[in-house]
């Protein structure tokens, strides 16, 4: 397996990179760690003429804002993220989710931004199409779907582990589209939910940093990844739960439940969340019914050998476990 040929450009700043993306248009693709893009390029699913690399861009270390929010460089590697004491303290859920991604070697190259912008995955798509599934499917610009031949949409899965964690923490995404073209928005707005074009970013936009607000950052939380193997593997589904608990230690003030790998983007279990504020989290019925609600409102797509019904069942189990874990006695500082 070898990479296709491309012209390599290495801008010195994020703004410059965005400018280049703008100039080259569709012919260019941005690369950070390359751990998602390079396999796709080797399979010839992506064959950019220009590769705009972020490897020459100066990175910054995670730091706290005056209001206690944690700012993390989108170019930070997941390995550094999972080792960073400040992240572990102020956004332990992010550090946990990052540690669940792929393998140590990959985490040392993979970046946070790349993880959030991961391409959607499908068994029929993540192949090289030289002698199997040769006709392009929707995702490759064709007009058929191998997965659901009768349908007219793409059912590929957005499998990032960190995205649901950020979603549950009300994280803010900062992007640049070139000099003077910065904007920020809640992470939920990063995703379209459509696997054909999963991100709302403009073609020239680059994620520069993320801001984890303090409200959820250090609250009770749990991250669970359901997969067949313990070692490196994408999630069958992943669940991130973040809770704000009243001073009595049991009454829920606010709750976030986010689920990954079940659709074309990370999803929130809004109905399940809505039922929790004011409830006693130590009551097992409370969490049980929240989990049941989550499994009602989210319909996982079958993928990578997992059947839909099974995922749905396990979604309930994992949400229940995550809620129970998060509601349980405050975890010891994970340092």
């Amino acid at each position: 397996m070898h990479l296709p040929r491309f012209t390599y450009v290495r801008p010195g700043s994020r703004d410059e990179a965005a400018g280049l993306l703008d100039t080259f248009g569709k012919a260019a693709v941005l690369v950070a760690g390359g751990t998602d893009l390079f396999p796709r390029m080797k399979y010839r699913i992506s064959t950019p003429e220009y590769l705009v690399s972020l490897s020459g861009v100066t990175r910054f270390l995670p730091a706290l804002d005056e209001d206690g929010a944690l700012r993390i460089d989108a170019l930070m590697s997941l390995g550094d993220l999972s080792r960073s004491p400040i992240v572990r303290t102020h956004a332990p859920l992010v550090s946990q989710a990052a540690t669940c991604v792929a393998s140590g070697q990959i985490r040392n190259a993979a970046t946070l931004g790349g993880n959030l912008c991961l391409e959607c995955r499908c068994l029929y798509y993540n192949q090289s199409h030289t002698f199997q599934f040769v006709e392009p499917c929707f995702k490759l610009g064709g007009d058929l779907c191998y997965f659901a031949p009768k349908g007219n949409r793409c059912w590929a899965i957005f499998a990032s582990d960190v995205a649901p964690a950020l979603l549950s923490l009300d994280t803010v995404i900062c992007v640049t589209g070139g000099p003077g073209k910065q904007r920020r928005f809640p992470v939920a707005e990063l995703y379209t939910g459509d696997a054909l074009s999963p991100l709302t970013l403009l073609p020239s936009e680059i994620i520069t940093e993320i801001i984890v607000p303090s409200a959820f950052g250090t609250g009770r939380h749990s991250f669970r990844k359901f997969s067949r193997r313990k070692g490196y593997e994408f999630a069958g589904l992943s669940v991130a739960v973040a809770l704000q608990v009243a001073d009595d230690g049991r009454t829920c003030r606010d709750a976030r439940i986010a689920v990954g790998s079940v659709a074309g983007g990370p999803v929130r279990a809004a109905a399940a969340e809505a039922g929790l504020p004011g409830q006693d989290l130590s009551n097992s019925e409370t969490v049980r019914s929240a989990a049941a609600t989550a499994a009602q409102e989210i319909r996982p797509i079958a993928h990578h050998g997992y059947q839909a019904a099974h995922l749905r069942h396990c979604l309930e189990v994992e949400v229940l476990r995550a809620l129970t874990e998060a509601a349980g006695p405050a975890p010891l500082a994970d340092v």
Binding site: L123, R228, R229, H313
Partner: protein, 784 residues
């Protein structure tokens, strides 16, 4: 009493360890002669199609392309895993007229680099007429099924697509079943798995001055030389297969593969070295995998659990060509009859063509599938008649010196001891049934234990039938071993070195080994018939003996004593009781050259299993002897099931094995650990997912091999039944593939013990386990 063994039987570190741990060991993928061209292969996108035309002209014109070949550039000579009068060779190295599975090889190019080679493939235009295809074996047997190949002419049943049939038996099964106190019939299905060798398939071929030099990731250079010579129309002497280290094989690198043929042909065409490294994706989607067997099993027992009769029918989804699909239906019979006494048996096995990739041996070659069926049913029977799993196995287990129906003898069979020891170690008698459906500590986890047994042959007769070894003394008293045997990770080089070290009392570090080169090393059976330790090992011992004889003769002459007065130690010979009367091997060498017309002391040894048996047994009737050595084992498993998600894992495996005599206990343990790991992958994780002949998961991300996270505790117990005595032939059994089978059955049985559900189909996925739990809950509440 003879002296204690110093090298044989010791846990000696592998002799190729330093080369492998420093990155110096050269694998085929590392071979890169100057000026090497890159070869890529064009494969069929269709499971079944007629080739109406191939146009290579555009590809040939692409700058950087040095040659393009299709079937028209070949001699159209077929090859096959089996090449017998009943099962003649049936596969062209490049498709002639028809393709029968997705990924079948149609053309190959040699170009200056990968980019050019791949661009050239895109320029080859093939016109197809798509033919109807069939993928399921039972569908393929139907009268109106698409025909992959005509049914075998000797098969009389009105089935389509029969590649081969094995039919055998003894006694009267109908009467046996009628006389049984309890009879049951079950159907078990196994799924498609693959070897997962880490080193991809790869070949370098270099045609120089009328000689084809080949480096290829294989399981034996001599069989590759034969098949390459045959299909290329070259004399054997024009083909040289060189040694390279092999990054795992597990049965998957025996056959001739088209990429090997293509690299060779392209090198002959271009006069330049040609290298092909097959992509992991091609290996998963187009290469040979193991064999998914359907086993229908009827067993009748007496009240005491003793088997009276067994009827077995297997159906093998054999893929688009015979491959080893017609062998596995023979072997499955062997794996059924070797462990237990079965007074009446009727066996029939069908290999059925389908438009899937070709099958080849995979570690265990039918045994895991067969033992899963038999051992699962054994537990079901035991439960029905009120016996425990250990008792029913002890009643039926073969005893030492039993004669098998095919004329083989089990000799010093340690099966009973294996069963008892494995059961005892995991405390099976007490634990089995005691914790069923009970949570360990509240929670959703359940644990259970189970047992299975198995037997495996060690060496059979198949080309080239012989292993020969040469041992040379150097003038400094060190040794060189020449062997055609190949180290694929199992430790062949190490155990041969140990044997020679023991026979000649030369330290391991003073012995170098030259292996697996068809030109400079003697012939070898190859490392795919589970006979290396026995056949090649005895050849090495004989070669060392020949050297020993010469050393002793010369020493006796020079020290003026009888050879029986001499002892060997540390590269020297001395007189018993008079250690000062001593000659070093260097001095002996010098004396030999001086006094024996230059004889530098070279020993040759050879070995053949079953020396009085002319040929291998009949694949059609199973008549004829199969092997000299049966290894036996009992394996126990502890399994944990999460009843909420259905996820299950192997926690602990105990292997009590009668491998005869462990020449290197460290190697034996390593083989067992690896097989336990493979079996847990088989049981819970791995599956080549296919849809209409296309592979959905052609990558390691999605073909879920165990990672370190799935590791199970693996313990082994030696049941030693044979011995090694210096100067005498020894009988040892095999350790390389016999221990993937009983453990699979043990896992199935432990799963049942944990949660009370019986799965008849592998793998035991969370979906299947949950579904079975749900059905059980419904049935239980229905009964209540």
């Amino acid at each position: 009493m003879s002296d204690p063994l110093k090298y044989v039987g010791q846990p000696i570190a592998r002799v190729d360890g330093p080369a492998k741990v420093t990155g110096k060991a050269r694998f085929t993928v590392d071979v890169q002669p100057p000026g090497t061209l890159v070869c890529r292969i064009l494969r069929s996108p269709h499971p079944h199609a007629r080739i109406l035309g191939i146009d290579i002209s555009a590809a040939q014109k692409l700058p950087g392309v040095k040659a393009v070949v299709t079937a028209d550039d070949t001699l159209k000579i077929k090859h096959g895993f089996v090449e017998t009068p009943r099962y003649p060779a049936d596969q062209y190295p490049l498709a002639v007229g028809v393709v029968r599975h997705v990924g079948e090889e149609i053309a190959a190019v040699a170009a200056v680099d990968e980019h050019t080679a791949e661009a050239a493939l895109k320029l080859i235009k093939v016109e197809y007429e798509i033919l109807p295809a069939v993928f399921d074996p039972e569908e393929a047997m139907k009268a109106d099924a698409p025909e992959v190949h005509p049914s075998h002419p000797k098969v009389t049943e009105p089935f389509r697509n029969i590649a081969g049939k094995t039919e055998t038996g003894w006694g009267d099964v109908d009467q046996g079943l009628a006389e049984s106190d309890y009879v049951r019939t079950d159907r078990f299905e196994s799924h498609l798995r693959t070897h997962g060798y880490l080193e991809p398939q790869a070949t370098v071929a270099s045609w120089e001055d009328g000689k084809l030099n080949v480096w290829t990731s294989s399981m034996g250079p001599f069989i590759k030389r034969k098949k390459l010579a045959q299909t290329l129309g070259l004399p054997l002497s024009a083909v040289r297969v060189h040694k390279s280290y092999v990054g795992g094989a597990f049965g998957g690198k025996i056959d001739l593969f088209s990429h090997e043929f293509c690299a060779a042909l392209l090198s002959m065409k271009t006069g330049r070295p040609v290298k092909v490294v097959v992509s992991r994706e091609e290996i998963f989607a187009a290469y040979r995998h193991g064999q998914p067997l359907i086993v229908e099993l009827t067993t009748g027992v007496k009240k005491d659990g003793s088997i009276v009769a067994q009827r077995i029918r297997t159906i093998n989804n054999c893929g688009a060509y015979k491959g080893s699909g017609v062998v596995v239906i023979f072997l499955s019979w062997g794996f059924a009859m070797a462990t237990y006494r079965i007074p009446n048996m009727a066996y029939e096995g069908f290999a059925v063509y389908t438009n899937n990739t070709v099958r080849c041996p995979q570690r265990g070659h039918g045994a895991p599938q067969m033992r899963f069926a038999i051992e699962s049913q054994m537990d079901m029977i035991a439960e029905e008649i009120g016996l425990d799993p250990v008792a029913i196995r002890l009643v039926n287990a073969r005893l030492p010196d039993e004669q098998l129906p095919n004329g083989d003898n089990v000799h010093n069979c340690g099966l009973v001891e294996c069963i008892e020891k494995a059961a005892e170690r995991i405390n099976l008698r007490e634990r089995y049934g005691s914790s069923r459906n009970k949570a360990a500590e509240g929670g959703s986890l359940r644990r259970g234990v189970g047992i299975g047994v198995s037997a495996y042959f060690g060496g059979s007769l198949i080309y080239p039938n012989s292993s020969s070894v040469i041992v040379k003394l150097n003038d400094d008293g060190s040794l060189i071993i020449l062997t055609g045997s190949l180290d694929i990770g199992q430790g062949a080089e190490t155990i041969l070195t140990q044997i020679v070290a023991e026979e000649l009392q030369v330290p391991i570090s003073q012995i170098s080994i030259m292996a697996a080169d068809t030109e400079t090393t003697p012939v070898d059976i190859g490392v795919w018939i589970s006979g290396n330790a026995y056949v090649t090992g005895n050849a090495a011992r004989e070669a060392a003996m020949a050297v020993r004889h010469k050393i002793l003769e010369i020493a006796a002459q020079e020290l003026e004593t009888e050879t029986c007065q001499l002892v060997l130690s540390e590269k020297a010979v001395s007189v018993t009781g008079a250690p000062e009367r001593r000659m070093s091997y260097a001095e002996i060498y010098e004396a030999s050259v001086r006094s024996r017309r230059g004889d530098p002391i070279i020993g040759e040894g050879h070995w053949r299993t079953m020396r009085d048996v002319p040929t291998h047994p009949s694949l059609a009737t199973a008549k004829g002897r199969w092997t000299e050595n049966y290894a036996f084992d009992a394996q126990a498993a502890e399994v944990e099931v999460d009843i909420e998600t259905g996820k299950a894992r192997l926690v602990r495996a105990v292997t009590a094995h009668d491998c005869g005599f462990p020449i290197n206990p460290l190697n034996v343990d390593g083989q067992i650990d690896g097989q336990v790991s493979m079996a847990l992958g088989h049981a819970f994780l791995e599956e080549v997912m296919m849809e209409n002949g296309r592979t959905l998961n052609p990558s390691w991300l999605e073909y879920r091999m165990p990672t370190i996270g799935e590791m199970a505790l693996s313990e082994s117990i030696d049941v030693i039944t044979e011995s090694y005595v210096v100067g005498q032939p020894y009988r040892t059994k095999e350790v390389g593939e016999g221990y993937v089978s009983a453990i699979l059955a043990a896992i199935a049985n432990a799963l049942y013990d944990a949660v009370g559900v019986r799965l008849y189909t592998t793998p035991f996925t969370p979906e299947r386990i949950l579904k079975a739990l749900k059905e059980k809950a419904q049935a239980d509440s229905g009964n209540a």
